[in-house]
Amino acid sequence: MKATAQKSLLSAAALLLAAAGLSACSGSNDNASPSDSSSSSASNSPSASASEPAPAASESPYKEKYDPPVTITTVWGVDPALKFKNGETIENNVATKWALDTLGIKIDSLWSVTDSNNAFVTKMRLAMSSNQKLPDVVTIGTGGDYDQLAQDLIDTGAYREVGSLFDEYASDKWKAAMELDPNVWNPYIRDGKKIGIPVLDYAYNHDYLLWIRQDWLDKLQLEGPKTMDDLEKIMDAFKNNNPDGLKPDKVTPLSIGFKMTMNTWMGDPSWVFGAYGTIPGQWNVGADGNLEWGSINSGSKQALEKLKEWRDKGYIPSEAALWDENKTAEPAVAGTAGIIPGPYWMSGWPLLDTAKNVPTAVWKPYAIPTGPDGKAGRHGTNFTSGVTLINKDFKHPEALFTYQNYLFENLADPAPGSQWDVGVFKGYDYDLDASGNPLYIDQIPGGDVNINRYWLVKDGARIPDAQMKALMNLADGKEATSRLEKEVKNNYGPETPAAAKVLLSQPNISFTDMFTGPATPTMKSKQDYLKKIELETFNQIIYGKKDSSAFDKFVADWKAAGGDKMTQEVNEWYQTTKK
């Protein structure tokens, strides 16, 4: 690489820059680059778009290796399941050593906390309120309480605009990945400025399909369901004419639960709503092009009537209203459930264990059936799993791009034969036997560890469609050649490629939650109450305590109690994203 040839020159320049940075930084604002990309370093700048107008200077701060090293401070929420070996810690491990040796980037940990029961969010909030130093670079996940934390961190004003940095320093590969869905920036835009870099994740992770007991279908000589009517026939046969000879009251034909929401990731009932053209519990694009709350769409009423009918007939668990996601998996694993909705990766967990309890059990993935008008729907997945923020006092914001560009180039989807093709760190995520063949998982002396969680940014670098592409190749019978293909083949359940194919056979039925902005004022004060009356009404209808006309009253109440105002606020936000 050219970088090696220019190393001495660069290091001299880096020294100068470090000195300049020290004197220039005090009192400076979020001005993107103290110096910039210019002709002499254009070959090092990985981005073709580095030719944007920039103040004249002789050297870009961007380096492929920093000498002397630069320090990035960060904080960690460590996954409770994350393992370390050789006495390493999150602060000091093979990946931090690699960053220092290869890139000249020293990762310095301000603190870390084992992230369970909201410990990371709590600790971060406490750090914010007790004058502790905020890290140079921090990655916050999505979902649960993380979203609000990310928004609050942005509102502190301690983190800088990153859009210009991204345009200037990000590699083409990274940019291409980001452009798969430009909406990923939406939650992190303030007054038109991009404040955080979205962390990309594999697409379709939580889009779901139906897992059905193929051995039962075969014994009953039934085809997989195409429509809701087919599905009802199958459920009836599973229950009243069970192929394993189970008594009707012992069978759960369709294992779903809605303890706290009708829109979740496993045992989810939202596709029943999808058959009538809506998805509850999220913001969908309505007929008029504005966003609407899916639960108040008139399709929800029909879906609730259908669910009531199914409950009365015993197709769904009689206590479905008390069941959370893990509970819905129990009858599936025990071999008493016939159908369970869930992600394409479910054959790896939990369904792999069904055969241990019922040796004849075989689960196969099926597409979401269509409703009376030929509609089908499920909830979709956003492409992001978090956001990376850069402190405005951080003097080397470009160093993060050095780090991430390297990972996008070498880790995200490495070509066969490239340096990380077999694995990343020998003795950690792979090893070689005496004749040079790769060893994985339990074959590695001392066991393997998930080095993907050691990176500065969660999961290193992921290109949203890469994993699905790999799975599709496998499903089409291609031999696993690239690292991703081998990885999915080795690690995930046997039915996963087939399930991915089923999933992608219905690419247009996924409804993603279109509202990804910060909570609006009415949301903060009213949403909890609105959700409460929604779920209560829905359950009363499903359990026959009220007839379905209660739905119309609910919609009126919902609108009057703040729902209309919230919808208006959400649409105001939505307009700003469409520019």
Binding site: D152, D155, T156, L322, K327, Y529
Partner: protein
């Protein structure tokens, strides 16, 4: 002067506890001012905007706030009463068992549920109380022919279940103070009663129960501090969308709206309100205990 000379050891003895209280309790109590702020962590207490009573208003503006407060009061008062009576009665009954091994084993066993968190017990309870072939419903059907009860899915039964399961979880642990108090009763009192030919019931009524009353007053008074504390962990793990209107309590409500959204000011306001109510109740019961029973609780 003479008084001080006599009591200086008392002050000295209280010094360590007092110093620790000031550092770890009284200084942080200053944080209550957050209840009157739109508290933003990055602005700190000194920089956060003052919003007067807005946080308190938010609590009462909710359409369902009265319902939530009523649920909390109802569930908490039943818990306080039964968490006092059950261990009290249990200690007396256990005291009647003369086989030392038996009584000690029972004591150890009843104490076990205290160690299991509600996360675990929640899962087990859903199983045991299922209306669809759960153990409890099967027993009830077999013994009394009762139709299956939807313990966790019906609002009124849910309240009942919450109180009973909490008492069941904690009574063994709560019995301990009463057992210790029983151990402190002078045996000669019983011997004298025996000589007078008093029946066991008479002995219980005139010796055992009166000796336990002071302890019961102390425990009961201090429990009033929890009058708006209906048990977050338990409800959070057991409640579901079916029983929201009868099972939602202040803490779950605060958790959903405030903690998740990082509204510290609002959470503090609710806490302060709870503390005020409990303080008033404790002062009242302290006075009552002194006036009626001539007993100083603390």
């Amino acid at each position: 002067m003479r008084y001080l000379r006599r009591t200086w050891p008392f002050h000295l003895m209280l010094l360590p506890a007092l110093a620790l209280l000031i550092v770890f309790n009284y200084i942080p109590i200053g944080g209550i001012v957050m209840a009157f702020q739109d508290y933003k962590p990055w602005l700190h207490i000194s920089g956060s905007p003052w919003i007067g009573l807005d946080n308190f208003r938010l609590m009462f503006e909710r359409e369902d706030s009265m319902q939530v407060i009523w649920n909390t009061l109802l569930i908490a008062s039943f818990k306080i009463v039964f968490n006092l009576l059950t261990p009290f009665a249990f200690a007396i009954l256990l005291n009647e068992i003369r086989q030392k091994y038996l009584s000690r084993s029972i004591q150890t066993l009843v104490y076990l549920p205290h160690f299991l968190s509600w996360v675990i017990l929640g899962g087990i309870l859903v199983e045991f109380l299922s209306s669809d072939g759960g153990f409890v419903n099967r027993v009830l059907h077999w013994m009394f022919g009762i139709k299956p009860i939807f313990f966790l899915g019906d609002g009124n039964w849910f309240r009942f279940t919450v109180v009973v399961s909490d008492v069941w979880k904690e009574f063994g642990y709560n019995t301990i103070v009463f057992l210790a108090a029983l151990a402190g009763i002078n045996p000669s009192l019983y011997e004298a009663a025996e000589v007078d030919g008093a029946s066991r019931w008479a002995q219980t009524r005139f010796i055992t129960i009166p000796s336990l009353i002071p302890m019961a007053i102390v425990v009961g008074t201090l429990a009033l501090g929890k009058i708006l504390d209906a048990g977050f962990d338990q409800i959070f793990n057991l409640y579901n969308s079916m029983v929201m209107s009868k099972g939602d309590i202040i803490e779950t409500f605060v958790y959903r709206t405030a903690i998740v959204d990082g509204q510290f000011g609002f959470a503090t306001a609710v806490d302060t309100l709870k503390s005020l109510v409990s303080m008033i109740l404790i002062v009242i019961s302290y006075r009552l205990a002194y006036k009626l029973a001539n007993y100083r609780v603390f």
